[in-house]
Symmetry: C2
Subunit: 334 residues, 2 copies
DNA sequence: CTGAAAGCGCTTACAG
DNA sequence: CTGAAAGCGCTTACAG
């Protein structure tokens, strides 16, 4: 018993028809008579035939795959987006390929936009060079975006979302409101910082450098920001902080609690993203919810439309955010 | 200016050689004279030629991809494993395909082990049916495993790892030690429960049904377990709990804190996995660290070895775990 | 409704 | 060291 993989000719021979007919019976049955279809079905069952996708793809000059470029796969922030992407791509018959732009060597960068590698790109990493991506295969950007790249973007309005967070703190009566920014140069960091500044200005609140802390979205950088904040004089340091990610907010809260302070009694904290865990820590975190599954789904749908030439606009899709008020924010102590 | 994708014949023509020579210059340069190689290089640069992977794969009767089957992509637990997988597969020239076994329809299940879909499988979901996976392409299992499936497994010793957690609690002086199990029927749940029971027995501690709570690895199920625990009489309920996942431990701690209790003063808690966040909540969680990146890397390496016929053993790789003692555990109150 | 034939873009055993 | 030719497994315009 040899391990032989039957091909379309084996089926054709057994069914007593040509390979063309088998092919049609498979991909466009209405072109084939019922009797012939039945014969083909029988031959397929008898041989255990399965279509070779690689051959079909070669013939169709496509790959059958969509490549998602993620800055850091280990970061759980992306898994939910990818889950949304996968839920759309699977049923549509596309494979989801994933590449971690950090662990993949820079030499590999040029291959991303290779038409022989995938039929389309979903970009989740705004720090990629435009030149490597431009003009080869359809692209959609999700969450982050590459400045200068012409492609539809599926995202939230980061600037006004940041404004929501800060306004919430202002509404509670806070005057000295601080901000922990994301990674330097990151498009999201820039937009959220701008929203923070917008909100302070529109409320006539003080905008001072000492209330802005550098972060990089990570837990550890939130902890470090807290360490700085703890060293500042109590009378002048912020009574409330808006942090550009939930992870940083967690790190921040953990550190101030370790120093015997209480949130929100001693300091109010707002995060960004609404990752699942932070509803369960104490205090549960007030944050801006980002519809991550929906972002992934819509990005995948728009890319599929481009592949089918339905979507010919470069317009962005802006999805709504929501301020989720939990227990990490309160009026300032007086 | 037409958008024309040059192929190997275009390069051959320009270089004044045959396509066979171009092919050799690309994949086995030592077979080709330096002068010819140079000519080919020039022609490639001039035409902007890029190898078509699909065609090469068809010729080689392979796909160039490895498919990872994940039970739930949205669960961040898997992202770090996938990160390890990606870091090995990328440099080896393989694409990483990912499928979410939950969102993909059951009809798609049979396609997973399709040789035309991928060259090998990394299985992270122990609940898949053996029949759908058997005997088609090389498989490696990581973390979870499918009972009855003959394939190398890369995992930890869940049973003794659970024992470590329980022994730590016993060492602190706890007598009534409870356990929140993972999803019913899950291979990890079963192994960790067995390890819990082992440890109690070997210490001569009471093993009672009322100290075992059903969970499913999720935050919410940890919260629900806490709700049950809170209702039990203080004199008989466990003074310490080992939970089969960090997520459940977070949910548990959050709920008991919400009821005004303090961890570890009122109850000690040990989790499992060592996900990043739980070092930063308060109290920082004592847990069993699972080397997730390494699990992903080793799984990918073993699969690559199988594809190259280097690895011909079905033996499991057992990676070491570590008990990480933080602040969520202490001696029982007396 | 069906078949013969060309072709998608590569690779490689064979011959020289 | 190099080329002609067959072939990987499909699909589809063309002809009947």
């Amino acid at each position: 018993m040899k391990k032989y993989r039957p091909n379309i000719s084996d089926v054709a021979r057994l069914a007593g028809v040509s390979t063309a007919t088998v092919s049609r019976a498979l991909s466009n049955p209405s072109l084939v008579s019922e009797a012939t279809r039945e014969a083909v079905r029988g031959a397929i069952a008898a041989t255990g035939y399965r279509l070779n996708e690689t051959a079909r793809n070669l013939r169709h000059r496509r790959t059958g795959g969509i490549l998602a470029l993620v800055p850091n796969l280990a970061n759980p922030f992306f898994s939910q987006i990818l889950s949304g992407v996968a839920s759309v791509l699977g049923p549509a018959g596309y494979n989801l390929l994933i590449a971690d732009t950090r662990t993949a060597g820079a030499d590999r960068l040029l291959d991303y936009a290779e038409p022989s590698r995938s039929d389309g790109l979903i970009i989740l990493d705004g720090s990629l060079p435009v030149s490597a991506l431009t003009g080869r295969i359809p692209i959609v950007e999700a969450c982050e975006w590459v400045p200068g790249l012409v492609a539809p973007r599926v995202k939230i309005d980061n600037r006004s979302a940041a404004g929501l967070a800060v306004q919430h703190l202002a509404d509670l009566g806070h005057v000295r409101i601080g901000h922990v920014v994301g990674p330097a140069g990151n498009v999201l960091s820039v937009a959220r910082l701008a929203g923070y500044e917008d909100a302070l200005r529109s409320r006539g609140l003080p905008l001072v450098q000492s209330a802005i802390y550098q972060g990089d979205f990570s837990l550890e950088s939130g902890r470090a920001a807290a360490a700085l904040w703890l060293q500042q004089p109590q009378e002048t340091r912020p009574t409330a902080l808006f942090l550009a990610s939930d992870a940083m907010a967690c790190g921040f809260i953990g550190e101030v609690q370790r120093h015997g302070l209480t949130v929100p009694r001693d300091v109010s904290v707002v995060g960004f993203d609404d990752i699942e865990l932070i509803a369960h820590i104490s205090p549960p975190l007030t944050t801006i919810r980002q519809p991550r599954t929906a972002i992934g789904q819509v990005a995948a749908e728009r890319l599929l439309n481009r592949l089918r030439s339905i979507d010919d606009t470069d317009e962005d899709t802006i999805l709504p955010v929501e301020l989720i008020i939990r227990a990490s924010t309160a009026a300032p102590r007086r």
